[in-house]
Symmetry: D2
Subunit: 383 residues, 4 copies
C-alpha cells in the first residue's frame, strides 16, 4: 500500500449527520486520513468541531477559503490531496469551485449544486481544471447493485421493459420543530434548492435506476406534493418516466411515508427476467426468470468481478451502508492515485459517480418540478 491519501473536509461539524458518515467511509480501508477541515460555516463551531475530531490546531481552519489558501502553501507531501464537501446543498457549488480553482480534487455530497445552471458551470470548471470530481451517490456503492448492473449489461434479462424505483422515508411525516437542524435546512428552499424530497432522495432513486440499467431518463410526468402544512418544498413525489431504450417506469419518493425508514428499492423487468433489490436488505439480489425458479444472489457469492472487488468479507457476513459508502471513497481514492501517476482516472474506469451524474441529476430535479407545474403530460429533459 502506498502512503495514505490526505483528505480535508468542509462542513460536517457538530450536529451534522452526513459528515460523520463520510469520515467512517473514508477511514474504513485505512487508505485515507483526515488531515484538515473547515467543519462549519460558524468559525467557532468549525474550530471546536475540529478539536473534537483530533485535527492539529494549525490545520483546523475557521473557513474553507482559509483552508484552501493555507493548504496550498504547504509542502506537497503534507498538503491535502482532496476535499470532501459535506455542507448543506447551497454551499456545494461555491466550495467545489474554490477547491478546483485552488487545485484540489473534490468529493461532494449530492446533489451537485443548488440548481441546474450551477451544475453546468461546475461541469465546465471540472473539465477546464482537469481535476477529479466525485458525487457520493452512495447506493451505487453496494456490491449487489453493481452485480445487478452487470447482469443487465450482459443481457441476462433481455431487452429491458420496465423500471420501478422507489425511495420512501417517514422522518418528515410531522411538522418538525426548530431543533432538528437536518430537517430545517432540508425544507428550506434557500439551502436545499427548488425541490425537497425529490432533490434529496428522488435524485438518489433516479441515479440508481440509471446506474443499474445503463440508460437515461428522458421524459417524465410528475406530481409533487407538500403533505405537511406550511412546508415550502415537496415532501413527496410520484412520476411516470420514460428512459432511453424504450423503457418505461415509475419514480417514487416520499419523506412522509409514515413508518418507513430508508426504503430504497428497485425492480427492473426485461424480456427474459426481472430483478429486485432492497437497500434495507442490501446483501440479496432477487432474480426472477421466465420459466425457471427464482434465484437469490448474495454479496460475496459467485458473483461478477465488479461486484467482488467492492466486497470486503465472506458470504453471510452482512455488509452495510458504510461499506457501500466506503466503496465510493475507495474507488475515488484509486482514481486519485491513478491521476497522480498520470493515468486515466475517469469515473467510467474507476466506477465512481462523476460530474456528468451531477448535471443530469440536477436536470431531473428541475424537470420534476417543471412537469409538476405543467398541464401537459410529458416533460422532456435536455441534459
Amino acid at each position: 500500500m502506498n502512503k495514505k491519501l490526505k483528505m480535508g473536509m468542509v462542513g460536517g461539524g457538530q450536529g451534522a449527520f452526513i459528515g460523520s458518515v463520510h469520515r467512517f467511509a473514508a477511514a474504513l480501508d485505512s487508505e485515507i486520513e483526515l488531515v484538515c477541515g473547515a467543519f462549519s460555516s460558524s468559525p467557532e463551531k468549525a474550530i471546536s468541531s475540529g478539536k473534537e475530531l483530533g485535527i492539529t490546531d494549525r490545520r483546523n481552519y475557521a473557513s474553507y477559503e482559509e483552508m484552501f489558501e493555507q493548504e496550498m502553501l504547504l509542502d506537497e507531501a503534507e498538503r491535502m490531496d482532496f476535499v470532501a464537501i459535506v455542507t448543506p446543498n447551497h454551499m456545494h457549488y461555491p466550495v467545489a469551485c474554490a477547491a478546483l480553482n485552488a487545485g484540489f480534487h473534490v468529493i461532494s455530497d449530492k446533489p451537485a449544486t443548488l440548481d441546474l445552471d450551477e451544475a453546468i458551470k461546475l461541469s465546465k470548471l471540472v473539465n477546464k481544471t482537469n481535476l477529479l470530481f466525485c458525487l457520493t451517490h452512495t447506493y451505487t456503492g453496494y456490491p449487489m447493485v453493481k452485480e445487478a448492473k452487470d447482469i443487465i449489461r450482459q443481457g441476462k434479462l433481455g431487452k429491458l421493459r420496465k423500471v420501478i424505483v422507489e425511495y420512501t422515508q417517514g422522518w418528515l411525516s410531522e411538522a418538525q420543530d426548530e431543533s432538528n437542524k437536518q430537517a430545517a435546512w432540508r425544507t428550506n428552499p434557500a439551502m436545499s434548492g427548488i425541490s425537497g424530497c425529490m432533490g434529496d432522495i428522488g435524485s438518489h432513486a433516479a441515479n440508481l435506476a440509471e446506474y443499474i440499467t445503463s440508460e437515461s431518463i428522458e421524459q417524465l410526468c410528475a406530481e409533487l406534493t407538500s403533505f405537511v402544512p406550511n412546508r415550502l418544498l415537496d415532501d413527496d413525489g410520484i412520476a411516470l418516466i420514460k428512459m432511453s431504450g424504450d423503457i418505461n417506469g415509475i419514480l417514487h419518493a416520499s419523506q412522509v411515508a409514515t413508518g418507513e425508514e430508508n426504503n430504497l428499492t428497485i425492480r427492473v423487468y426485461g424480456e427474459k427476467g426481472g430483478l429486485e433489490w432492497h437497500q434495507q436488505e442490501p446483501n440479496s439480489l432477487i432474480l426472477k426468470w421466465l420459466n425457471e425458479p427464482m434465484q437469490i444472489l448474495r454479496t460475496a457469492g459467485n458473483n461478477t468481478s465488479i461486484s467482488l472487488v467492492n466486497t470486503r468479507i465472506p458470504m453471510g457476513h452482512p455488509e452495510g451502508y458504510l461499506e457501500a459508502f466506503a466503496n465510493i471513497y475507495r474507488n475515488f481514492a484509486q482514481a486519485i492515485r491513478a491521476y497522480q501517476q498520470g493515468k486515466d482516472a475517469s469515473p467510467q474506469t474507476f466506477d465512481y459517480p462523476g460530474i456528468n451524474d451531477g448535471v443530469h441529476g440536477m436536470a431531473i430535479i428541475e424537470g420534476l418540478v417543471k412537469s409538476h407545474q405543467s398541464d401537459e403530460k410529458w416533460f422532456t429533459l435536455n441534459n
Copy 2:
C-alpha cells in the same frame, strides 16, 4: 344450517381456469351445491363438461338461454337460486341480463361487462329487478384485507395521504401460441374489451385500493403499453391517481413483468402510520408506525370481527386464495338467504362487491384508456 343454496353456472367448462375456482369456492363451506349449468358456448363441449362435473343429464344444458327457460319451469324447491357467470368478458352482460330477466340472482366474474355503457345498463336492470348481483373481486375476500379496511376506518392510520397499489404478473411476457385459450381471449378486444392488462388485473388493483381506503379514484394520468409485438391490447399500465379524501398514489399493473406470479400488493400511508399487504403472503398485514415498532398482524389473531368472520381456521394455518374466494361466495350466499327472508341483502350489509363496484370499475378502465390517449395530464372520472 338451512338446506344448501342451489347454483347454476354459465361457462367454466373444459379448459377454463376460473370455472373450477368458482366451483372450489362455492363448495368449500358446504352451503352451496352446483345443480345445473351451461358450461360452454359450444353445445357439445357444454354437455361433455357437465357430465364430467357430475351434473344430472336433464339439468346439463346446451345453452344459457335453455337453462334459464327450463329452470324457471322447475318447482321452486328444486330450481336453482342463483347463477354464476364465468365466461369471457363479452358474455358477462348478455348472460347477466338474461338471468336477471328470468328472475335469478347473479354472481359474475369481473369485469362486470365489456364496456361502461353496458355496465350502466346492467346497473339499471339490477335496480329494476331488485335482484342481487355480486362481482367476484376476490382479493377483497382475504381476512387481512378486511382487517386493513377496518384499521383505516377506525382512523388508526390518521388522515390518509398515499396509496400505492400494484398487480404484476409475467404470464404474458412472451407472444403466446394459439393453444393457450386463456391468453387468446384475454388479448382479443372483441372478447376482452378496450383494455387487456388494465381490464383484467388493473381493475382488481383499483378495486382493492378503493375497498381498503373506503375512498374513490377520481382522477388519473395513465400510460399503457403493449410490450409484446402485435398484441392488440395493453399488457402493461402505470398511472398516477388522485382519490377522494386528498389521497394521491400510484396504480400499476403488468402482465409482462417477467418472473412475477400474481403479485398484488398495496401500501397505504396516513399521518399516523402505514400498512402493507401482499397477496402472495396474504396472512400477514404489516403496520408501520410513527415512533413505534413495526407490527405484523396475522390472520386469525386478535383481529377485528369483520376479519374474524371471514376466517376459518386458527392462527398459523395459512388460508389462501380459495378461502378468500369462498368468502365472497359465502357472504353472497348469506345475502341471498336474507333476501329470501325478506331482509336487507345489500352489498354494504353483507360485505360483497356489488353492481356499483362494477360500474365504477368499468369507468376506471375506460378512464385509463382515455387518459393514455390524451396529452393532458389529468383525466377526471364521471362514474
Copy 3:
C-alpha cells in the same frame, strides 16, 4: 366424475376444531359428501350438531355403534363408503376397530391410537379386514412438501446428512382455564395418551421428516418438559435423532413457545445442497446449493408431477392448510375408488399416510417418553 363418495363422521360436533377442518377438506373438491354422523360422545350434542350440519334425521346418529349398525342395513348405493374419526385420541382405536369390523374404510385423525400396543393391534385388524386406513398427517399434503420429497428422491441433494424439524406453538403458554375444551383434553393423559406436546405435534414433525427424506427415525435422545405448573403431560420436547441412511438431526416441538402460531419448519442438508420449508409460508421451497445461487421453488411452478397433481390453482394464488388437508382426502378418495374397482389402493400408490405411519408414529411417541425417563443417551426404536 363418478358419483360422490359418501362419508360418515364420528366426533367433530359443536365446539370441536378439527371436525370442521375435516369437513372443509372433504367438501373442497366436490368428490365427497357427508351423509351421516355420530358427532359427539354425548347423544344430545351429537344430534344437535348433526342438525346444524344439515344431516338427515334418520342418519344423524346418537352413537357410533348405532351408526355402523344402521348404515350396514342400508342399500349399498346409499350406505356410507368410509368413516372419518375426529374424536379425542382415546377414542381413535375403538371407533376404528368398530368401523373396520363393520366393513367401512377409515380416515382417522392422528395419532392413530392412544398407545403403541393399540396401534399394533389396529394394524393387524387393517391387514386382516383388507380395508383402507388413512391417517391425516396433513402437512404431507402440501405441494411443496411433496416437491421436497421428490427432489430428495431424485438425489439432487446428494447423500443426506442432517434433518432439523421443528414444530412450535404458543397456545398452551399459560395454564388454561376449564372453558378451553381443546386444551383440556390435550393435557389429559386419559384422553391424550402418555405424551402431550410430542404426541400432538411432535408426531407431525417426525412424520414430516420421514416423509420428506424417505428414511426412518431409528434412535433418539429426548428431554421432555412440562413448563406450565401442574400440567400432567409434556408441553415441550427436544430430541437428538438418528435416522436410517446415517442421517442425524434434531426433533423439536413446543406448545409453550410463547408467540408462535403453528410454526412447523424443516431443513434437510445433503452433500450437494440443502432445502428448507416453512408451513406458515407453505408455497415456497428454498433450495440452497454448494456453489450456486439459492433458488426458491413455488407451488404450481415448473414442478414435478407429484407436486402438480396436488396443486389446484396457478402460481401466485396461495394454497393453504385446507388445500393440503383436502389433498389427503382426495388421494384417499381416489384410493377408495380404486379399491371399489378391485385395483391396488395402497398408501404408496395413492400417496396417503397409512397404518404403518400410525404404528411407527406411536413407537416414536413411546420412544421419546422412555428416552426422557432414561439416563442413557440413546434409545433405539423397535417399530
Copy 4:
C-alpha cells in the same frame, strides 16, 4: 477526542481472512491506529505483509517476541497500547502470555486458547498482571443483540423457558484441497484444538445464548460428527443444553450444512413472549407476544441506550458485521482509555467479552467433546 490508541498485531498477514477484518474494525471509528505488527509466523511473510500494510520498517517485526521486546524500549508516547492476536488458535495462548508479561493489553480472536487448561492459566495471568483482555465474540457487538439482552434483562419476556441457538455454515461441505489455508488449520487438531466446528462456531453460538440471556450453560448432551471422510475433527454438532434459571434448549452448529453462509440465529422464549434474531439480517429483532401482534424492532429505532450507543447511523441504513466487530474494538478502546486514567475498565462496565468468557467458552468446548464420547445423557460443566 483524545489521540488515537496505538495497536500492534500478531498474525493476520497475507492470505489470512480474520486479520483484515480486525483492521477494518479497528480503523472504522478513527480511534485506533495500527502502528506495528508481526504478521506471520514466517519472518519473510511477516515483513512483506507489514510492507503491504504500510507499516514503518523499524516497527515491522519478524516475530512477536521481537515486537514485544522492541516496543517496550520505545517511549510511552510512541509505544503500542495493546496487541491484537489474530493467529490460528494454538498461538493464542503463548502470544497472549508474552504480551501480558511485557505489559500490553490484549485483544484476541476466539477461542481464547487451545484448551481449557491454558484458558485457566491465562485467566490467572490476566488477573495477576491486572491488564485488560478482550475476546472478539463479534456477534455480541450487534446493536439488536444488545437490544435483545436488555429486553430480557428488563423482564419483558417473563421468566425464560427455552433457547434455541444455531450456527450453520456450508463452507466445509466438501473435502478441501491444500490451497485453502483457512480450512487447513481449522481441521487440524494441532492448530485448532480438540474440536473443529464446535470450537470455531459452536463457541460463538454458546456465547451468544449466554450473552443474550445473562444465564450460563450448565449441562449438555452432545453428538458431534465428522461428515466429510478423513476429517480429524467434528464438522457438525448438535446438543441439548440446560442453562441456569431452569432454561433448556438446543445448541446446533455445522460447517457442512451445504448452501448455508454464516447463518447464526437465536430464538428465546419466556412466559410472556419470545424473540428471534438472525445474523444475516442483523438489523431486525423479532418480538412475539402472548396475545399481542408480533413486533419488529430495528437498529437505530426507539431502542434502549445500550443498543443505541452501539449504533452509528440512522434507521434504515443497514449496519453490518464490520460495524458489530468495530463495536467490540470501540468498547475495548474506551476501556483502555479508562484504565489509562485509573478508572474501572472491566468487561461489565464497558460491555466487551473478557477472559471469563474465554475460560467458560473453553469449558463448553471440552464439555461438548466429553459428552459426545460418553454414553450418559448429561454432562455437567465445572467452569
